[in-house]
């Protein structure tokens, strides 16, 4: 078992190296096509052309693009992703401090999405068995037409404005300082035993995570439904029926386990969708994550920061594929003997 997993991880890591290099290059070249001068905002109005040239030289923007890329790459390998133009801070720590918030939001969103879509997928399957699928199809199609960022606005309107029960801005209640052990607000505040602050963190997380989940759930529902329909014709289902098991038990205890595999694959492939959704949700809810940082960087043409965040997202996506591969090997008994 362990050998299989380490073989998967090793192979994935080796494949990841050229991918990361090429993607960084693509991003670098695209960003250097920029039509406006990213440094213009940094200079005071009284700056002379000589000042501008000096600043360009200081930040390394005067060299040819291939050379700039090699310099960036060499520094990146040493853990230095350059200096953010707008924040005047090193990019790497800036991003790393924002990363836990994004992961917290994404994982909470994924969890809520599963809580919605597993019963939802089973319901869609049951309705299909009873030939009542038109209503279910329409409901899923409607859900699929509402992206996370619209859900964010609707949820804010519903639970923040019209019936103001939940907070919709920031990550924790006012005056709460995060202890900064793991960076995950929901974990840290529990670790230090501050339950009132923990509740504020949880309530701040609820609406953004729900917006993310509602945007992602229809995708999972669709895959689960079609996997369950496929599983229904398998001999083991017939065998379970002959043994006298109830339909509910067959679905929940037997078919769902088998439907889990294609669902996990789909979630892995679509994780980019989840990250992209999180980016907009973070922006709308003022959630201090990487996505929010990205929007600010894009608005301010902050090239080093954009390049760094692009790298972070690539690494995250690659990590997801590794996790999915490992999960697949663990869950699928047919792959265990390799």
């Amino acid at each position: 078992m362990f050998q299989v997993i380490s073989a998967i991880v090793l192979r994935r890591l080796l494949l990841a190296i050229p991918t990361l290099l090429l993607l960084s290059l693509v991003v670098f070249v695209v960003l250097r096509m920029l039509p406006v001068d990213p440094l213009a905002m940094l200079l005071p109005a009284s700056a002379t052309p000589a000042d501008a040239a000096a600043l360009r030289a200081q930040l390394g923007f005067d060299k040819p693009v291939p050379q700039q890329f090699l310099i960036w790459l060499w520094q990146a390998l040493n853990g230095n992703l350059g200096l953010s133009i707008n924040f005047r801070q090193p990019v790497a720590p800036l991003m790393l401090s924002a990363l836990p918030a994004t992961l917290e939001l994404t994982l909470a969103g994924l969890l809520l999405a599963l809580l919605i879509s597993v019963p939802g997928g089973v319901l869609a399957y049951v309705l299909y068995q009873r030939r009542r699928e038109t209503a279910a199809d329409l409901a899923v199609a409607l859900m699929q037409s509402i992206p996370s960022f619209l859900w964010s606005l609707l949820l804010i309107l519903a639970f923040g404005v019209l019936w103001p029960v939940l907070p919709f801005s920031g990550r924790v209640g006012e005056g709460v300082v995060l202890p900064g052990i793991t960076g995950f607000a929901v974990v840290d505040l529990l670790l230090v035993g501050r339950f009132d602050a923990w509740l504020t963190a949880l309530s701040h997380l609820l609406l953004p995570a729900l917006a993310l989940a509602l945007g992602f759930a229809p995708l999972v529902i669709r895959v689960l439904r079609s996997s369950l329909i496929d599983a229904a014709t398998e001999p083991y289902v017939e065998a379970a029926r002959l043994r006298g098991l109830s339909e509910a038990r067959i679905v929940w205890r037997h078919m769902l386990k088998n439907a889990a595999l294609p669902t996990i694959t789909m979630i892995g492939v679509q994780f980019g969708f989840l990250f992209g959704g999180a980016l907009l949700v973070e922006m709308i809810f003022g959630f201090p994550g990487v996505g929010n940082l990205m929007v600010q960087a894009v608005k301010g043409n902050d090239l080093p920061l954009i390049q760094g965040i692009a790298l972070i997202f690539c690494v995250l996506m690659l990590a997801i594929t590794v996790i999915v591969d490992v999960l697949y090997a663990v869950l699928n008994p047919r792959l265990r003997t390799l």
Binding site: A141, S226, I229, Q270, G272, K299
Partner: protein, 305 residues
């Protein structure tokens, strides 16, 4: 997003020629989804084209005496502004109608562009196989290791803002959806007897691809096209919501969302109208695409009947 859900379902096995077109059309006619989706899209298209005649006001005209007027049926509403006005006294209904123009332009052109790019590469890769296929497959994998939103943001930074840049960004991000799904279909079709027969008869590669393989993947292309239109509408709305898409004097649903968000406390309708516009139009695209897929895929049809 829906594209992936489709890869797991069986590829449509359409007839090699258009000989079956009439029965295909009859199948389409039996699909309520095609009617509802197509009806929505047609209505939005008509509103967009006829905007100057349909809209009661100029979308940019500010009436400072009528700021945040509620919709006409609400107390304090004004029949001159059926869906009320926004914070600058602009007619929400007129802005929604004009917003459909940008949304549909982006949807149609971007979906067409990504379909052409993605399908061409899929056709080349699936038909020739070998190095060509592996090369294209690698680029697709590379593209897919970025969250699409992040990639389009990066592209917009490099390209600059504007409707044409948004369209280009969508094409450069979303061609992979077409490429992956259609390539799989081309791979299956290429091995069919009638394609082999055409090759044995000495047809050139181009003729075989366009006359024998292409017709078999057209239904799938139409489905993906329709769904891609919905995706492009959401991407455009997102980007103009962030403020990266179009200059302020162009009316878009995304801008209306951003305006409405700041007046959410006092005037929910300013935000709810563009939200409803986006949801209904995207729903139309998804229903139309799904309907075509079910109608033209015999295996799915058996299931749903």
């Amino acid at each position: 997003m829906t594209a992936t859900a489709m890869t797991s379902s069986p590829a449509p096995t359409a007839a090699p020629s258009f000989a079956l077109t009439r029965s295909a059309l009859r199948q389409l006619g039996r699909q309520p989804r095609v009617w509802v989706g197509g009806g929505i899209l047609l209505a939005v298209l008509l509103l967009a084209v006829l905007a100057p005649w349909v809209a009661p006001h100029d979308p940019l005209e500010q009436d400072l005496l009528h700021m945040l007027t509620p919709p006409m049926w609400a107390p304090g509403g004004d029949a001159a502004f059926p869906l009320g006005t926004d914070g600058l006294g602009r007619c929400v209904l007129s802005r929604a109608i004009y917003g459909a123009r940008v949304a549909l332009t982006v949807a149609i052109v971007a979906a067409l562009g990504s379909m052409l790019l993605g399908s061409t590469l899929a056709m080349l890769g699936g038909y020739f196989g070998g190095v060509v296929d592996r090369g294209i497959g690698y680029v697709v994998d590379l593209w897919m290791s970025f969250p699409p939103v992040v990639l389009s943001l990066i592209l917009l930074v490099g390209l600059g803002t504007g409707v044409d840049k948004v369209i280009l960004a969508v094409v450069l991000v979303d061609w992979t959806r077409f490429c992956r799904v259609i390539r799989a279909d081309v791979l299956v079709t290429r091995r069919r007897d009638y394609v082999l027969a055409a090759q044995l008869l000495g047809f050139g590669h181009l003729r075989t691809m366009l006359r024998e393989v292409l017709p078999a993947v057209v239904p799938l292309m139409i489905t993906l096209f329709s769904i891609e239109m919905g995706i492009a509408i959401v991407v455009e709305a997102t980007l103009s919501f962030i403020g990266l898409s179009v200059p302020a004097q162009v009316t878009t649903w995304g801008q209306m969302l951003a305006d409405g968000r700041s007046d959410m406390q006092s005037a929910a309708w300013v935000m709810l109208v563009p939200v409803a516009c986006i949801i209904v139009t995207v729903l139309g695209c998804n229903l139309f695409g799904d309907g075509i897929r079910v109608a033209l895929d015999p295996r799915l049809r058996l299931r749903s009947e």
